[in-house]
């Protein structure tokens, strides 16, 4: 296949990964007050782990400069303890009247969201520039 847009495969994979990250952040924000998850315990904060996928490609085609792309390898659970809030009237309160709320800090999630959206923007700028470069290449020799 002809490769007209430089670096477009890496950028595309990064955009995919950022979408997964955004999914996870939205899940965290949506469940910031979930006291009972599927396992009966309060929801735990999740975070994505990115990994570049050079290794697999390098094993298959050992060569010089293979473009590295990125992907989400796993979605980890945050191991911090749940927030304990005194609220005896809550149905999920324990014997001392404490309710275990998820270990989610909304501000932290907002910062993560800003980071994610900025890096999405950066990758889109790469796409835009790749296109501009290709179009400028095509106008070589015109006046």
């Amino acid at each position: 296949m002809i490769d007209l847009l430089p670096g477009i495969n890496s950028t595309s994979s990064a955009l995919d990964a950022e979408r997964v990250r955004m999914d996870v952040i939205s899940e965290n924000i949506a469940n910031a007050d979930t006291t009972k998850g599927i396992d009966g315990k309060p929801y735990r904060r999740q975070q994505v782990v990115f990994e570049s996928v050079l290794n697999a490609q390098q094993a298959s085609e050992a060569g010089g400069s293979i473009p590295q792309s990125t992907q989400v390898v796993r979605i980890d659970k945050d191991t911090r303890a749940p927030r304990m809030v005194y609220n005896p009237s809550h149905p999920d309160a324990n014997g001392q009247g404490m309710v275990a709320l998820p270990n989610i800090n909304i501000h932290e999630e907002m910062v993560d969201m800003i980071a994610s959206s900025r890096s999405y923007e950066a990758n889109l700028a790469v796409v835009k520039n790749a296109r501009t470069m290709a179009m400028q290449d095509l106008s070589i020799g015109k006046h």
Partner: protein, 126 residues
């Protein structure tokens, strides 16, 4: 590629070395041909008929047009997948459309260049 090898590629296979013939017959060009050849020793002039790895130039062009068509089909597939709720993300659809657009532009440019060179040849004094 220097001008000499470019003209040779256009000139085709039936008269493979007209310029060297001219040089040997005494119509001395200002730069001797062997000097020109030494400029790019690694890049032997290839005529249109000379078999490259992918066959003739016509095959090359047909393959290229086929690839551009493939990209268009892939773009419309991804847009259809996006609109029908399959596992295609928005940016994938946009990128494949972008690729299709750029490769189509590339094809148009190649066609323009070919047509230009044809018209240039037709205008040539005989």
């Amino acid at each position: 590629m220097d001008v000499l090898s470019a003209i040779k590629m256009v000139a085709g296979s039936q008269n493979s070395a007209p310029l060297t013939d001219i040089a040997q017959k005494g119509v001395t060009p200002s730069i001797p041909v062997y000097d020109l050849k030494e400029i790019n020793t690694d890049m032997a002039p290839q005529s249109v008929g000379a078999a490259q790895s992918s066959g003739s130039f016509q095959n090359l062009l047909t393959n290229f047009v086929g690839e551009v068509n493939d990209k268009q089909v892939a773009a419309s597939d991804s847009v259809a997948g996006l609109l029908s709720g399959k596992n295609v993300s928005l940016h994938q659809a946009m990128i494949s459309m972008e690729e299709a657009s750029v490769s189509f532009q590339m094809m148009v440019e190649v066609r323009n260049k070919l047509l230009d060179s044809y018209q240039e040849l037709m205008r040539m004094q005989v």
